[in-house]
């Protein structure tokens, strides 16, 4: 049952996020130009969940910024494999970002991770209130 729920949620997240195969193209697309929003995902540690719940925004401590992914699957991939043992429990989060703000992020294409966005620490408050998907723990 839980597997089915996860599959359905994954599908929902994927469908609710616009296709972002080429973020460089996205920057020049009519979607970006016309406004609207884009949903981005990232997995976070327990400490970051607490921080989000307290501040209702992503905050960065001692880091340069944070990475966000256009699909839940990409975010989930960051928390898999045996390195996850060092990361501790990971929780999926998302945030719906105005496309005008999205253009302020850095569109990147890391090997292995696929298209992603990097937001420096000072821009994180502009992203808005994250949603913590507590019912989808990743191990």
């Amino acid at each position: 049952m839980s597997q089915l729920l996860i599959c359905m949620l994954t599908l929902l997240f994927s469908l609710s996020s616009p296709a972002m195969e080429g973020n460089a193209d996205f920057r020049q697309s009519s979607l970006a130009a016309e406004g609207g929003t884009t949903t981005l995902f990232r997995t976070v540690s327990d400490a970051e969940v607490k921080s989000i719940n307290a501040s209702e925004q992503y905050t960065a401590y001692n880091t340069e910024g944070k990475y966000f992914y256009p699909t839940a699957e990409q975010a989930q991939a960051q928390a898999v494999e045996n390195y996850a043992a060092r990361q501790g429990s990971q929780t999926l989060t998302s945030v719906t970002v105005p496309n005008s703000v999205l253009k302020g992020g850095q569109s990147i294409n890391p090997l292995g991770e696929g298209p992603a966005f990097f937001f420096p620490t000072e821009q994180l408050p502009q992203l808005g209130k994250p949603t913590v998907w507590n019912f989808w723990p990743l191990h």
């Binding site: 880091t63 340069e64 990475y67 898999v80 045996n82 043992a85 060092r86 990147i108 991770e113 420096p120």
Partner: protein, 162 residues
């Protein structure tokens, strides 16, 4: 000649270790270990991990020019919990470049080994062993472990001959 560091590949199952070793052929100097648990994080003797950009976020990774890597230092607290003193990260594809493993992974491996050589030039012996995880080794699943093992082996052999 700059000696190639030992390379440790940390894999989540015995089957994946077998697959990787099959791809290695007769290459020496690359060791596959598994299964996962948290053995890797606490494995003494690994001096640096290669992690993708997102997985290195907590050490202050940030985007750098494509086809390059950065060497980050971990904290004393990290090291006491089993994290190695260095994290190597940052390999970005160029705009429009597709993640074709056969073309891109050798570039990644050479970048990492070049970075290790540079660190060792400044701090002799600082990085004698480099660790990889399956996620990074297979470019996020873009290729098989056997193929990535073969590609890594070819890079190590070529560099050993130089």
């Amino acid at each position: 000649m700059t000696p190639c560091p030992n390379i440790v590949v940390c894999l989540p199952s015995l089957e994946k270790v077998a697959e990787f070793r099959q791809g290695l052929g007769d290459t020496f100097g690359i060791i596959a270990i598994g299964p996962a648990s948290d053995a890797m994080g606490k494995l003494a003797g690994i001096d640096a991990f290669y992690l993708s950009l997102g997985r290195a976020e907590r050490w202050g990774s940030r985007p750098i020019p494509p086809h390059t890597v950065a060497v980050l230092h971990t904290s004393q607290t990290d090291q006491q919990s089993g994290i190695p003193p260095f994290v190597i990260t940052g390999f970005l594809l160029k705009e429009g470049e597709t993640p074709q493993a056969d073309a891109v992974l050798p570039l990644l491996f050479n970048c990492v080994l070049d970075a290790v050589a540079e660190v060792n030039t400044q701090q002799p012996g600082a990085i004698r062993t480099v660790g990889f995880f399956a996620f990074e080794l297979t470019a996020g699943g873009a290729t098989s472990l056997a193929n990535s093992a073969q590609l890594l082996g070819q890079v190590v052999k070529k560099r050993s001959r130089q």
